[in-house]
């Protein structure tokens, strides 16, 4: 499990710009800092450091060179206990030359904006955890600037500034590719969802506006997601697959809502998107609800059959209720997504209600088994800790706050997107 080296510790922030100062303070709080002192004036910061050491200093200035005098003063002018503090410099843009200068005056790390909690945590963990000797020589006072020697390296010992830049500014991480799911049997009847071709109206050339191109791109993304869901239709109903399906489904549903709202709005020219685009959105919407309904039905029927067998034979092993409830919860989530579009078949709802009742019966059987076991030991049976009985949450309407998404869409419209 990841940990933050700053948890419960203190940090001093020096930034003249109030927005940047507050941004750094918020970021450090999210990284776990217990005490944060945001200061605008470097002189005041040095006075504060003279009074008592802190665990970390973060200097922020759009102009990277502005931080150099502060770092130099921390290293040269303060008592050793305060001068040893790790210093991170944050700026809008830094060149390799400035990084070199900053490291040479004693900075531990140099970061560029935009800053995120994740990037800040990486740097904080690095500077607080690294075992770097503190050098105190007449010509330099600060963290050792040598990198750890690699015993297997026999080339010239040169410092690569590029490595420092790369370490200070790692690229943004891209999300890992979606986990593939097992495919048991393809489901063919989902209509036309392969929409990679450009939209052509009336068989002739049609130049897509930027707005229409956005819509088509969105349709293609949803279509690809539906294909993924289709592949998961009869895949193993385990925790990992349920999670994958849920993520894919919610992503597709969210994009669909955006697409439908955008398609219903007039563009900058006062006209809506062309009929072909609207038709494609409608096709992909129907395909989405068809596939989700198929997945929900297939899984629900499998769970109901499983429960029926267990209840009939009364062979209920401990933990069965928990296991079946987790599977049923996955189906409930699918129906919640469908309910937002008002597309939950009544028989599925009734089947789900009945399934939750069966879960309660299975849990009763589990509890009876606990009592029997206790009695067989001729001890007073422990009070049974009954889990609250889940009840089906009635399908919700579209969340009322979705209306506020109109504002974002208005922004898009105003910009002609």
């Amino acid at each position: 499990m990841a940990t933050s080296a700053l948890t419960g510790k203190s940090a001093l922030i020096v930034a003249a710009d109030s927005g940047l100062r507050e941004l750094i303070a918020t970021t450090l709080s999210h990284v776990g800092a217990q005490h944060v002192w945001p200061l605008a004036d470097p002189g005041e910061a040095l006075d504060r450091l003279r009074e008592a050491p802190v665990d970390l200093v973060v200097s922020g200035d759009p102009n990277a060179e502005s931080a150099i005098p502060l770092v130099r003063s921390i290293r040269q002018d303060l008592p050793t206990a305060s001068a040893r503090v790790p210093v991170i410099c944050l700026s809008s843009q830094v060149s390799a030359e400035i990084i070199k200068t900053m490291l040479n005056v004693g900075a531990n790390a140099v970061m560029t904006l935009p800053v995120t909690t994740r990037r800040m945590m990486q740097q904080v963990n690095r500077v607080l955890r690294e075992e770097r000797p503190f050098i105190q020589k007449p010509e330099y006072r600060g963290p050792c600037r040598r990198y750890k020697a690699d015993p297997s390296y026999d080339g010239p010992q040169r410092r690569a500034i590029g490595a420092a830049v790369a370490a200070a500014n790692p690229p943004r991480q891209t999300p890992p590719p979606a986990k593939p799911v097992e495919t048991a049997e393809p489901f063919h009847d989902i209509g036309e969802v392969a929409l990679a071709r450009p939209v052509v109206e009336g068989g002739g050339e049609h130049h897509l506006s930027k707005r229409e191109a956005n819509l088509v791109a969105g349709v293609q993304t949803v279509a690809a997601t539906i294909q993924g869901l289709n592949a998961a239709l009869k895949s193993t109903d385990d925790a990992a697959t349920r999670k994958h399906v849920r993520q894919q489904m919610v992503e597709a549903a969210n994009r669909l809502i955006n697409l439908l709202a955008l398609a219903n709005k007039s563009g900058p020219d006062g006209q809506g998107p062309n009929a072909e685009v609207v038709r494609q959105i409608d096709t992909v919407k129907r395909a989405f609800f068809m596939v989700t309904a198929q997945i929900a039905r297939f899984r629900l029927e499998a769970i109901v059959a499983d429960m029926g067998r267990r209840l009939e034979s009364k062979e209920v092993v401990m933990g069965a209720g928990e296991y079946l409830a987790a599977r049923l919860f996955g189906v409930e989530e699918i129906l919640e997504v469908m309910s937002a579009g008002g597309n939950v078949p009544t028989d599925l709802e009734e089947m789900l209600d009945g399934a939750w009742d069966d879960i309660a019966r299975i849990r009763d059987l589990e509890n009876e088994r606990v009592v029997l076991l206790e009695l067989s030991k001729q001890e007073s049976p422990a009070p049974i800790k009954r889990r609250p009985v889940r009840t089906r949450v009635k399908p919700a309407e579209l969340p009322p706050a979705v209306g506020s998404q109109e504002n974002v869409l208005n922004q898009l419209d105003r910009k002609g997107l």
């Binding site: 918020t26 759009p62 935009p114 995120t116 945590m121 919700a396 009322p400 506020s404 974002v408 922004q411």
Partner: protein, 146 residues
Amino acid sequence: MDVLLWSDEMSVGNDILDNDHKAFLSSVSLLRGSREDRMIVLSVIMLLEEYVDGHFLREEKAMKAANYPHLARHRLRHSWFRARIKAVSEVYQQGNDAVADELPDLVAKWLRQHIIDEDKLYAHWVSRITVDNRPLGLLALEAEQS
């Protein structure tokens, strides 16, 4: 009333979760004074994206531990909320700076509405369990990896 100000009616009765909500409003308020510096605005938007990942994971873990019966619906609401923040982020990163102008009030209204309509419903349930109190950044990391 300033939508970025915390009010007692927003309390869910748990200090950790209340502090998260306060931190969110505080983060959003950063946008009011920093709209001219694009890199700061972008940082705040990315911070909000991480915030919702971390905070929503904290809430969902608490609701799950409390056997909260409306967890499925609440997770879906979180997904809507996350999608809105993501949509704003994407639009801004595509160069539409104007979206940041309305962002503070817009996002704060979303949050207020979500807390009052949804979060308050779990208040009684989570009052009996221990809520994960790790920093938001760690939870955001866990949400990304899980």
